[in-house]
């Protein structure tokens, strides 16, 4: 599935929740199950500090595709990270750069992306694109 298909799939999944609580329970579930990032990568080099929750992110290029790894100290943030990684990971840099991330707004989690620096997610999304740009440059070099 390509990036947009996965986004549609997630939107589909969330459409069955008409209650915010089910939605957040699902996020919490996702957050708990997200493989935590290698502690050697949980250093200041990889950190994005929100005022509230911290986010760590790393990426590597495997066979021309980027594999992202990320983590957070807050479970809800981690749940959203799990969704994000499902969408962007394992795609080529070009694919990542070519596609917008629209699912977060569509599943009603937009407030998690407010520019308040609270949870670091918005900065993480920027970082995802930066990794893609960097690897793209490397591939073209």
């Amino acid at each position: 599935m390509n990036i947009n298909e996965i986004q549609e799939e997630i939107i589909e999944e969330f459409s069955i929740y008409d209650d915010w609580m089910d939605k957040y329970n699902y996020l919490i579930e996702l957050g708990k199950n997200l493989k935590t990032i290698d502690t050697t990568h949980k250093t200041d080099e990889y950190i994005i500090k929100g005022c509230q929750s911290k986010v760590w992110i790393d990426a590597e290029l495997v066979d021309g595709k980027i594999i992202y790894a990320a983590d957070s100290d807050a479970i809800i943030t981690k749940g959203i990270i799990a969704l994000l990684l499902r969408v962007v990971s394992n795609n080529t840099p070009q694919e990542i750069l070519d596609n917008d991330l629209f699912f977060i707004e569509q599943i009603g989690l937009k407030e998690n992306l407010s520019p308040t620096r609270a949870n670091g997610l918005l900065a993480m999304i920027k970082q995802i694109r930066l990794f893609a740009l960097a690897y793209q440059a490397k591939l073209n070099a």
Partner: protein, 417 residues
């Protein structure tokens, strides 16, 4: 020792339904649920009379103050200066000259740090703050120390969230020139023993600055009884608009201090050969003051007085007791800040649950609490935590809202278990 906020548990004499009706935002719905606003420590909501004061000013009397000779200008000026008198009385300052309008606590403290700093700080001098200070009462002093080569010292906080006064006595010295302490801690709720500290500070002939951002709204403030040299607070935490604040300072000290900002209204005469400065308080009010905010701040204080400062204190202390007891029954909930003398602010963590996660779920239940470091990073570090959940109550909150918070926290525990 007389407590600055004496707690009397009598019959509570606040008509809570009337009070709540005075604050229109309290009937706002959040995600379809009743708003439960437990974030007044960050900013207080405004009674209708304060909102109306601004509207009235802009609809009828607005005009720039002080320099005008026309009718509207006199109207504006009168309202601005009357508000200064209201504040003078509220703080029990000696004269209107001691009441300087600023844009908020942060601006007030920066004014003192610059102007008093330029007046009295030399290389090697010492300035003392506490481990529980808000960043606004740390960073200005750090910057001053950098500029002057002075040294910043820190009064430590005990496990229950009180100042370690013995440690303070051992830190203060002949080199100490300024001591700046929060009246009330925004994170822990602790009411600090201002009078006792004032005495120690003045024994060393140092200046005593009080950050009253969290103090002025919870009980009677009497700057003369406290014997502080400066007292800073923000209107927006005292039911007034944003963008207005106050610096109280003793006249004889303010007289000696050099001006901070330059501009209109703070001058006597300007010429390129030399400029002379206006008398107090205008010397420190450069440029067009937020005169509409100042007027509304006066109205906010009138409102607080009409409810009654003592009634507010009594009501909040009762609420504090109720909330502390109730929240303490939650398994795994730890309260940070258990000082004997505190305002109705309760900060806590649920065991194993991130403060941000707690805040997010409470929000969905319509409950507004604040999470994070609350601009007191040295303090959260001292307690070895990253952040904390703070419920800050005021006299428009109710026991039913405490119950809702309690229920919400049980829900949070269930969701994250």
């Amino acid at each position: 020792m007389r407590l600055v906020f004496a707690t009397k548990i009598n019959n509570v004499s606040i008509d809570i339904n009337k009070v709540r009706a005075d604050f229109p935002i309290l009937s706002q719905k959040i995600y379809g649920k009743d708003l439960i606003y437990l974030d007044s420590g960050a900013t207080a909501q405004k009674p209708q009379c304060v909102i109306d004061a601004e509207t009235e000013m802009y609809t009828h009397w607005n005009s720039n103050i002080h320099r005008g000779v026309h009718f509207l200008s006199n109207q504006s000026t009168d309202r601005y200066e009357k508000s200064r008198t209201i504040i003078k009385d509220f703080l029990n300052a000696k004269s209107e000259k001691e009441v300087i309008f600023t844009s908020g606590t942060t601006a007030s403290i920066n004014l003192v740090a610059h102007s008093l700093g330029d007046f009295c700080i030399e290389k090697g001098d010492e300035i003392i703050v506490t481990e529980m200070e808000h960043h606004s009462n740390i960073v200005p002093w750090q910057l001053l120390c950098q500029r002057k080569g002075a040294v910043l010292k820190v009064i430590p906080v005990t496990d229950c969230g009180e100042l370690n006064i013995d440690a303070f006595k051992s830190i203060i010295s002949e080199r100490t020139k300024i001591v700046s302490v929060a009246h009330v801690s925004n994170t822990l709720g602790t009411i600090n023993p201002i009078n006792e500290i004032a005495q120690i500070v003045h024994n060393y002939n140092a200046y005593f600055v009080v950050d009253g951002a969290q103090g002025v709204q919870h009980g009677k403030v009497d700057v003369q009884a406290m014997d502080c040299d400066f007292y800073a607070f923000s209107g927006h935490k005292l039911y007034a608009p944003t963008g207005i604040g106050v610096l109280y300072g003793k006249e004889e000290i303010l007289e000696q201090m050099p001006p901070y900002m330059g501009g209109g209204d703070m001058i006597k005469e300007v010429s390129f050969n030399g400029t002379t400065f206006a008398e107090l308080p205008l010397k420190f009010e450069a440029g067009t003051s937020n005169y509409v905010g100042a007027y509304a701040l006066g109205e906010a204080i009138n409102y607080v007085n009409s409810v009654g400062v003592d009634n507010i204190e009594e009501y909040e202390q009762d609420l504090l007791k109720y909330a502390t007891n109730k929240l303490s029954t939650i398994d795994g909930l730890k309260i940070y800040g258990t000082a004997k003398n505190k305002v109705c602010t309760i900060s806590f963590l649920l065991d194993g649950i991130h403060h941000y996660d707690t805040g997010m779920i409470l929000d969905k239940l319509g409950i507004a609490v604040r999470t994070g470091h609350h601009c007191t990073q040295p303090l959260t570090e001292r307690f070895n935590i990253d952040g904390i959940v703070r419920a800050s109550f005021t006299f428009y909150n109710t026991k039913a809202e405490v119950d809702a918070l309690y229920d919400g926290l049980l829900k949070v525990k269930q969701m994250f278990s």
